[in-house]
């Protein structure tokens, strides 16, 4: 097993310290959290700028321009116009690139959304009930409740939810009941997805806890880092700091 360099060792400890700083936010907003937050902001912005430069600007604008591709002058002009936003008098020039980008995406997404989320979803929502009857009957426990009942429930639930979004009529009479049924279907769905997500969220915390205890590293590496000691010491340091800070706040 190769030994860790000092830099890597320091990195492991810093990483633990930052983890604890962020967790201290659960208590309340405090100086150590603020420190971690601002560090996070600075680093993350810089990383996106660097990656955007190498991922988009360089291959799509700078290299074609240097390669003498004349077509790339058009986006260059658009970019320059956008930068006129900073000019007090000529800032209206920036409206052209903004109009361009909004219209381009609105146009392409209009058909994209209509295809993926309207046509496809409608096409998938027409179950063959006689087939369901032949395969599963009314309700089949062994196939998670598949059957005619579920087929009808899907179609009616979908229709009711959709009609709940009907804006240009008051929800009265029959509409009232349809809309109620739609809302209940929505609530059932929201409750279920909430419950379904809990496991994933707790797993995230397990991952952090494992790092703090060094369980994520090979034992040979963990021995060099002493993660448990580090975690305990750093936690004590943060809590100690918070106590002092609270006291000072009270006296101030």
């Amino acid at each position: 097993m190769t030994a860790l360099t000092t830099i890597e060792l320091v990195g492991c400890w810093i990483s633990l310290a930052l983890t604890i700083c962020i967790l201290s936010f659960l208590y309340e907003d405090n100086p150590v959290y603020k420190l971690a937050e601002h560090l996070f902001l600075g680093v993350s912005i810089a990383i996106s700028v660097v990656e955007i430069y190498y991922g988009v600007m360089k291959p799509n604008l700078i290299e074609p321009l240097l390669g003498g591709e004349l077509l790339s002058l058009v986006p260059l002009v658009l970019v320059v116009m956008l930068f006129f936003k900073l000019h007090r008098k000529l800032s209206y020039l920036a409206r052209v690139p903004i109009a361009f980008i909004v219209a381009a995406y609105a146009g392409v997404k209009l058909t994209g959304e209509a295809n993926a989320n309207l046509m496809t979803q409608v096409a998938q929502s027409m179950p063959n009930l006689s087939q369901l009857w032949a395969d599963h009957g009314i309700w089949d426990w062994s196939a998670d409740g598949a059957g005619v009942f579920s087929g009808i429930a899907l179609v009616l639930g979908l229709s009711a939810c959709l009609l709940h979004f009907y804006f240009s009529a008051p929800h009265k009479k029959a509409m009232k009941y349809v809309s109620r049924f739609g809302i209940l279907t929505l609530m059932l769905s929201f409750g279920a997805s909430f419950g379904y997500t809990v496991m994933g969220r707790i797993s995230l915390a397990i991952g952090r806890a494992q790092e703090m205890m060094g369980l994520d590293k090979a034992p040979a590496v963990a021995e060099q880092v002493h993660p448990k000691t580090a975690t305990v010491l750093l936690t004590i340091a943060v809590i100690g700091f918070l106590v002092v800070w609270k006291k000072r706040q009270k006296t101030a």
Binding site: F25, D29, F40, M126, V155, F165, F167, S168, A169, T197
Partner: protein, 397 residues
């Protein structure tokens, strides 16, 4: 020599049968459709050449394949499609050469490929005959699904004009109350009374997303109202281009309300384009500048709950709206009002009360009823074994 003998004894060479190449319907002119019958190989290698060139490996397919859609060029601007292409398909079996592995070095990869093609030609008994075909490009996709979608979009557009015209002639368009949207104005009023700012978060997605565009349009109305109340608005943006658009929108809102001087560009902020860094920074705004009302409209992901829970500690009024189904449960649980899916897209029209915009709500209502009718009819037809409606709504490539 021994190897060659092995080949002769073990290989049961059989070329793919009935090999055809055609230009697919509604094509962009860059694809050709290959089909053949499987003689029982362990896989297939597709070889292509143009009129001048030599055979190149196009793809290796798993056992059982009987068709393949071949893209003849990936960059039609620099490498335009040729008039015609010639294909052969080789049946692979236990004795075929190993597929060429990728290599970081382009020349080495090309050499690997060339060697592989040569090895395939060494065993010509496995090769299909040559077939030549020309890709044909189409100027309009006339498949039923595409035409239906075109019709739907055109009818939304047409209905908008029709209802607008009706409204001009004096017939009023009824729109039911949407409490979540009414709450936006109340929230702004509350912020004004308390002398605290309104926080507006337009989601974390790029401007590419139509929810972000919708959010920008709503921001225009919200900024105008804020300016009329002579209150303050902070916009917290995750994407720089969204900030630039938001800046333009808020400025216009203040201008329209007659208070252009009250606009502070420093209040429309770029926080960070990294999801959770943005979330940390926006939390910071909530805790330190204490907005009285938080409005989250746009596309949100996992940060939705962190934002909404932080806003809750602050006792801010929180109004959220998104069409991102996975995040709606968290907004419903943690916010005072939640706009679900389509309601998000209705906000700007609802707030503006401009008949031209409001008529678009009525137009999409009509299409909605049409969709429900199609689902019900389609289910009935599918149940008696007629999938015509399913086919109509299925859009192939």
């Amino acid at each position: 020599m021994i190897l060659a003998n092995l080949f002769l004894t073990a290989a049961l060479a059989a070329p793919p049968g009935d090999f055809t190449v055609t230009s697919p319907p509604h094509s962009d002119g860059l694809n050709l459709q290959l089909s053949w019958t499987d003689p029982g190989g362990t896989g297939f290698a597709v070889l292509r050449k143009d009129a001048q060139g030599t055979y190149q490996l196009s793809s290796i397919l798993p056992a059982g394949s009987e068709s393949y859609n071949d893209k003849v060029t990936t960059d039609p601007r620099k490498d335009p499609p040729r008039e015609s292409y010639t294909y052969r398909v080789a049946t692979l079996d236990a004795d075929s050469a190993l597929p060429p592995l990728a290599d970081d070095d382009d020349d080495a990869a090309a050499a690997n490929q060339a060697r592989y093609v040569a090895e395939l030609f060494d065993r010509s008994a496995n090769l299909s005959p040559e077939v030549t075909a020309s890709p044909v490009a189409s100027w309009l996709n006339t498949s039923p699904g595409h035409l239906l979608l075109l019709l739907l979009i055109a009818s939304v557009g047409g209905l908008i004009y029709w209802f607008t015209d009706q409204a001009r002639k004096g017939s009023e368009i009824f729109i039911r109350r949407i409490p979540g949207i009414d709450a936006i104005e109340e929230g702004i009023g509350r912020a004004t009374e308390m002398g605290k700012p309104v926080l507006y978060v337009p989601g974390i997605d790029e401007l590419q997303d139509i929810q972000t565009i919708a959010s920008m349009l709503i921001l225009g109305q919200v900024a105008k109202t804020v300016a009329e109340y002579q209150s303050e608005i902070i916009v917290s943006c995750c994407i720089p281009i969204v900030r630039e658009v938001a800046d333009e929108v808020v400025k216009a809102g203040f201008y329209q309300a007659g208070h252009p001087d009250a606009y502070h560009p420093g209040n429309t902020r770029f926080i960070s384009s990294e999801q959770f860094a943005f979330c940390a920074g926006t939390n910071g705004i909530m805790l330190r500048e204490k907005p009285a009302t938080n409005i989250y409209l746009g596309r949100f992901f996992a940060e939705s709950l962190i934002l909404a829970e932080t806003g809750y500690i602050n006792r801010s009024i929180q109004i959220a709206g998104t069409a991102e189904a996975t995040q709606l449960p968290f907004f419903v649980a943690a916010c005072d009002y939640t706009l679900i899916g389509e309601e998000l897209f209705a906000v700007s029209a609802y707030l503006s009360r401009d008949p031209r915009l409001v008529s678009s709500l009525k137009a999409s209502d009509y299409v909605k009823v049409f969709c429900v009718a199609c689902v019900l009819l389609g289910t009935a037809l599918a149940s008696i074994g007629n999938p015509i409606m399913i086919d109509l709504f299925t859009i192939g490539e």
